[in-house]
Amino acid sequence: MTTLLDPTGELSPVTRQPLPRLEGLTGATIGLLDISKPRGDVFLDRLQSLLESRGAKVERFRKPTFAKNAPPDLRREIAERCDAVIEALAD
């Protein structure tokens, strides 16, 4: 029998349960994350007004560059302050 050596990172993915869905938007804090792509702000401004008109509180966040991961502190801050987050990914 031929045996080969595994060229991959051999990571075992951690299975996580998704958080329960929000009951509704009233009173919820929704984070809006701008990743610094052009016109992400236009999209998020519109989302903010739609969310606020439905009773949600909105917090805005911004990554320093779209070409790198969000800094750990930013991720922690969003997790602490928000019930959900929407990220504006593309141009």
């Binding site: 031929t2 045996t3 080969l4 050596l5 991959t8 990172g9 990571l11 070409a67 790198k68």
Partner: protein
């Protein structure tokens, strides 16, 4: 399993020979005399138990004794003291043999010296089998294949390939690859994004086998993996981008010649094993260990063929300038890799300029098109100047710095050409960037955003531009690393 080489003496004399070696046959009289004078002499034969006749030779059938003694040539005479080789005489050399054995007037009818032949233990398949005896254990998961499974197809099926066949990474091949470095297999080379998995020397060696590398290529691949996984180079962003780019590797220093790399005709193309397999091994390591596969984390809209492999050497010997690695701080005479986040190369033709000013204007016009003629500052570029274009700069005494400076000057572009809407084209920079867009200019490249490399065949008044990806701290910065 008992040690088949238990005859290797702690103390005393050993001579290793084989029938297939003419010198071993020539020195038979010396062996007979030596055996008479030194009863502790152990005669060892590698290929024929009946050779040499009458000397009570031990047949080193599995060659483990020769391997333990470190025999590279036959005949070799070894003096053992306290379990170590104290002195070694390689080939036949009367003076050395006499000094080592303390036997005088040894075989006076023989010539004074004769070179030996290559030892059998260094030939394949023996060499790999013997190397396995003293190598450290491998720790990668062993994947058993079905009896009817084709190993190359199995690598495709398991998602380990870049779309081309890979060399199946058997333990034997990986061990042979590991002989290319003194670094232990379990040493950490880098943590590879986006999965942030550990690339050990062994994991890199496995991927180097798959890419088709030779063991001597491995140190270059290791330097590439280290460079790619730095915060500055930002493999995470580069792996995930929608843009075209991937890592481009330029190799400098004596290792280019040792590996027979290409920096001449077709340097950016196909045909050279070291160029192609080193670049491919880097990409396979990043994707297999780090997990950035196309359509998953790799979101490239089009990509480019260089994402299979993009590695070449600089033509240092014929260059008008000091090598790229030296310009970036590596000491002369040292080997290094420079990684650049680049797209595919595009040609620049100028067959008429014989003056450096005219030629730099041509190059500047072409460089302006990197990413978009109206997009400044966001992208670096590598300019590959060929010998026929390089000659124009050399003959005029233009240094690397002078050409860079002139190109940056020529690429100070009037703002009115760059603003959104100018030239009837929506792309560009916002007019609000300038107080007065009529009189302002804006640089195409940031300082240090141009990398000049000299490569290519001797005929062709062309150069090539390799456009970069998002530059600077928020993107990817070119990175030079010495090869260990």
């Amino acid at each position: 399993m008992t040690d088949a080489a238990e005859w290797v003496p702690r103390d005393g004399l050993v001579v290793v020979v084989k029938r297939g070696c003419p010198t071993c046959n020539t020195v038979l009289p010396a062996l007979v005399e030596l055996r008479e004078a030194r009863r502790d002499l152990v005669v060892v034969t590698q290929d024929d138990p009946a050779f040499p006749e009458g000397l009570g030779a031990i047949f080193d059938e599995d060659l483990r004794g020769s391997h333990r003694l470190g025999i590279e040539v036959v005949p070799t005479l070894v003096e053992r003291v306290a379990g170590e080789n104290r002195r070694v005489a390689i080939g036949w050399n009367r003076e050395e043999w006499q000094e080592l054995s303390r036997v005088s007037d040894l075989a006076p009818d023989l010539p004074a010296a004769r070179p030996g032949c290559g030892a059998l233990n260094l030939e394949e398949p023996h060499a790999s089998r013997l190397a396995e005896l003293d190598s450290r254990p491998l720790s990668a998961r062993a994947v058993g294949l079905g009896d009817d499974e084709d190993p190359i197809e199995a690598c495709f099926t398991r998602g380990w390939s870049d779309g081309l066949p890979v060399v199946p990474p058997t333990a034997q091949r990986v061990r042979r690859m590991l002989t290319g470095t003194a670094r232990p297999p379990d040493e950490l080379v880098a943590v590879v994004p986006p999965d942030y998995a550990s690339a050990t020397v062994e994991k890199v060696a496995i991927n180097a086998v798959m890419a088709g590398c030779l063991p001597e290529h491995l140190p270059v691949v290791l330097a590439c993996v280290e460079a790619a996984c730095t915060e500055e180079f930002n493999w995470h962003g580069l792996a995930a981008t929608t843009y075209f780019s991937g890592p481009v590797v330029v190799v400098n220093g004596p290792i280019r010649r040792q590996l027979g790399m290409s920096w001449g005709i077709n340097a950016l193309g196909q045909g050279n094993r070291a160029n192609l397999t080193i670049g491919r091994a880097l990409q396979l390591t990043l994707r297999n260990v780090g997990g950035a596969r196309p359509g998953e984390v790799d979101r490239a809209t089009l990509g480019n063929p260089g994402k299979l492999s993009f590695c070449f050497a600089e033509n240092e010997e014929g260059s008008p300038w000091e090598p790229l690695a030296q310009a970036r701080g590596v000491a002369a005479g040292r080997s290094a890799v420079t990684l650049f986040a680049g797209e595919g190369p595009r040609g620049v033709v100028d067959q008429l300029s014989r003056e450096p000013e005219s030629l730099s204007r041509s190059l500047a016009m072409a460089l302006r098109t990197v990413a978009h003629p109206k997009l400044p500052l966001g992208f670096d570029a590598m300019l590959v100047v060929t010998p026929e274009h390089g000659r124009v700069f050399r003959e005029a005494g233009w240094t690397r710095q002078k050409l860079e400076r002139r190109l940056l000057e020529l690429l100070q572009i009037p703002a009115r050409e760059m603003i959104r809407g100018a030239g009837g084209c929506a792309e560009g920079v916002p007019a609000s960037m300038f107080e007065d867009s009529e009189s302002s200019t804006i640089p195409k490249f940031r300082p240090g955003g141009l990398l000049l490399v000299h490569a290519g065949g001797g005929a062709g008044l062309f150069s090539a531009i390799i456009g970069g990806w998002i530059n600077g701290e928020g993107g990817s910065q070119p990175l030079t690393r010495e090869i260990q």
